[in-house]
């Protein structure tokens, strides 16, 4: 990230995020939707594109992430690695993209396995490496 533009309007960041999500979709079968977002809830990229049901997912993921961080701080249990909401008919996984002010949130169909969560983590790590400008 160059820092000159906000991440969600920086073409280099947007194209890296689009590519990362396409890669994730190819390896994670239960993936229903995913968004790369700024920490303050602006959407950088998403799949599937234009799905209105996930309109508020970026801002909700931003709020969830911040609340999870607050709990981790309060309990002094290190740093928040990822957040999983395991629902009766699906799941939501959210995690930070490296040390960047960005996060990745994924919605999974029921029947996901730990490997799927690992793929989401690997995608976030790879995106962080790609965007990291020393």
């Amino acid at each position: 990230m160059t820092g000159a533009l906000p991440p969600h309007r920086d073409p280099a960041v947007v194209s890296a995020a689009v590519a990362a999500l396409a890669g994730l979709a190819a390896v994670c079968r239960p993936l229903r939707a995913a968004i790369v977002l700024t920490d303050d809830g602006f959407e950088i990229a998403r799949i599937p594109r234009g799905a209105d049901e996930h309109r508020r997912l970026a801002s909700m993921a931003s709020a969830m992430q911040a609340l999870a961080d607050a709990v981790v701080r309060e309990l002094r249990i290190g740093t928040n690695q990822h957040l999983v909401i395991d629902a009766s008919e699906g799941a939501v996984v959210a995690l930070r993209v490296g040390h960047l002010p960005c996060a990745l949130v994924a919605v999974l169909d029921d029947g996901f396995v730990p490997d799927d969560v690992a793929e989401i983590g690997a995608t976030a790590d790879a995106l962080a490496r790609r965007l990291h400008t020393p």
């Binding site: 906000p6 991440p7 700024t38 920490d39 303050d40 801002s59 969830m64 911040a66 002010p101």
Partner: protein, 183 residues
Amino acid sequence: MAEYVILFAGPMGAGKTTAIRSLSEIEVVSTEAANSEPGAVDKPTTTVAMDYGEIDLDPDMVRLYGIPGQERFDFMWDILRERAMGLIVLVNADDPEPERHVHEQLTAFAELATRGGVVVGVTRYDIQRTDIGDRIVATARAVLPDRVTPVFAVDARDQEQMRTLLLSLIADIETRHALAAAP
């Protein structure tokens, strides 16, 4: 001893987080994230879920919740509105459209303002002195015609000023309860 749950509403940059930090006697639970659009409101961070603080106004215990000002977080407004008993709407005097914000926030939280109590605080007067006081009073009267909504100029960074604002809200809530309970 009574317990009050007070909600701070208002647009981005009004000073909700600052006010709760000024008032709280416990370490504030905050959910700040880097502000990606400093061109819109120039400050380093913005609230994305809520602020939470507590103050002991012997004998009353007051829980303070701040909402995120940006509308894309309005699902948090719904969650926090339900538990609140009183409303403090903050608006910054240097905002381009302070009346519109006061109108929107009082409309969004009208049920709470009517059920509990409400006060409006106009912040950042030292940055932009305007004549908006009367206009804010008129806006509040238009949204809530059946009640008097007090409007104060306050500095969200100033503990004493924020305490005065909070105490006037609690007095308002108590008066309404007393009137409602009267035979």
